[in-house]
């Protein structure tokens, strides 16, 4: 049995237990998939607090509506669907005013943070990702995160988002182009990366 199939079998078993109201099964499913849900939510919202809230909402929703889940279908696509739907809702509800206030607050306390100058490389990388991702339209952002972060194919993304494959390809194309411009990825960067790959 391949690891992927073994994982699906384990998920199926846990979903059946979840349908009987088993909280331990919920904990086990959370342990198995928390990173996937959290990073997907974080990639889409670019907000750590929101990602933590969405993580809880996703698993709570699965627990509440466990009876509607078909245990014989793969569990991960369902997780992606619920996560992206809730992230969409969160972003739409988030008012512009709140975002401006938060960004202004972050800017005001930026110079007072004692550890900022010692920020680790990983932290800086995240800051760059956060800014670049936030500048993209939501539809492109979702597709880029699912494709590049979660390594999902175009057809898998189309199925999760319930849109035609052509739409996914188009969003991917324009999202990548916008990201390239935002990050300043010129021709001098790409060949080097290409050689590194080969």
């Amino acid at each position: 049995m391949s690891p992927n199939v073994a994982q699906q079998v384990r998920d199926r078993h846990l979903v059946i237990q979840l349908q009987q109201g088993d909280l331990e099964a919920l904990g086990a499913l959370y342990d198995r998939h928390r990173q996937l849900v959290y990073r997907t939510a974080l990639g889409i919202t670019a907000d750590e607090e929101a990602a933590a809230d969405l993580l809880q909402d996703v698993f709570l929703r699965l627990y509440r509506y466990a009876r509607r889940i078909d245990p014989d279908r793969p569990f991960e696509p369902l997780l992606y669907r619920v996560t992206t739907n809730l992230a969409y809702t969160w972003i739409r509800r988030r008012s512009v005013g709140v975002r401006i206030l938060r960004e202004m607050g972050e800017w005001l306390i930026r110079d007072r943070r004692p550890t900022l100058h010692q920020m680790a490389e990983a932290g800086e990388a995240w800051d760059q990702v956060r800014r670049a991702i936030s500048s993209l339209p939501l539809a492109q952002r979702v597709v880029l995160v699912l494709h590049y972060l979660n390594d999902l194919s175009v057809s898998e993304i189309a199925e999760i988002l319930e849109v035609p494959e052509g739409t996914v390809k188009s969003r991917l194309h324009y999202g990548r182009r916008a990201l390239k411009a935002t990050l300043g990825l010129g021709k001098d960067v790409l060949p080097e990366a290409f050689y590194e790959l080969t």
């Binding site: 590049y148 972060l149 990366a193």
Partner: protein, 94 residues
């Protein structure tokens, strides 16, 4: 690159994938998130199939609360107005 596969771009795909994964690699949910989830789940009951409204009404019908005189008077008037012949024939019969 042809227009047919313009959504694919080898080196750029590689750069973006590496960049995005590196940016999120250090990110993990807060430790207390698990216990918070389980506490919230314990408080929230899983949704059950909705029963029809009829069984919900049944206990109320069984309550030993006779209608008051005012209600009975209204009912009597309504019956007399809507079905006078039936009420009269009932009275004659009994």
């Amino acid at each position: 690159m042809s227009s047919r596969n313009r959504w694919q771009s080898g080196p750029l795909d590689y750069v973006i994938r590496r960049w995005l994964k590196a940016g999120l690699a250090s990110k993990a949910p807060p430790l207390e998130a698990r216990s918070r989830l389980l506490a919230a789940a314990a408080a929230a009951k899983p949704s059950r199939p909705r029963p029809s409204p009829a069984p919900r009404l049944r206990p109320a019908m069984g309550l030993a609360m006779p209608p008051d005189d005012w209600s009975m008077g209204l009912a009597r008037q309504a019956v007399l107005r809507w079905f006078p012949a039936m009420v009269i024939s009932y009275r004659i019969g009994h």
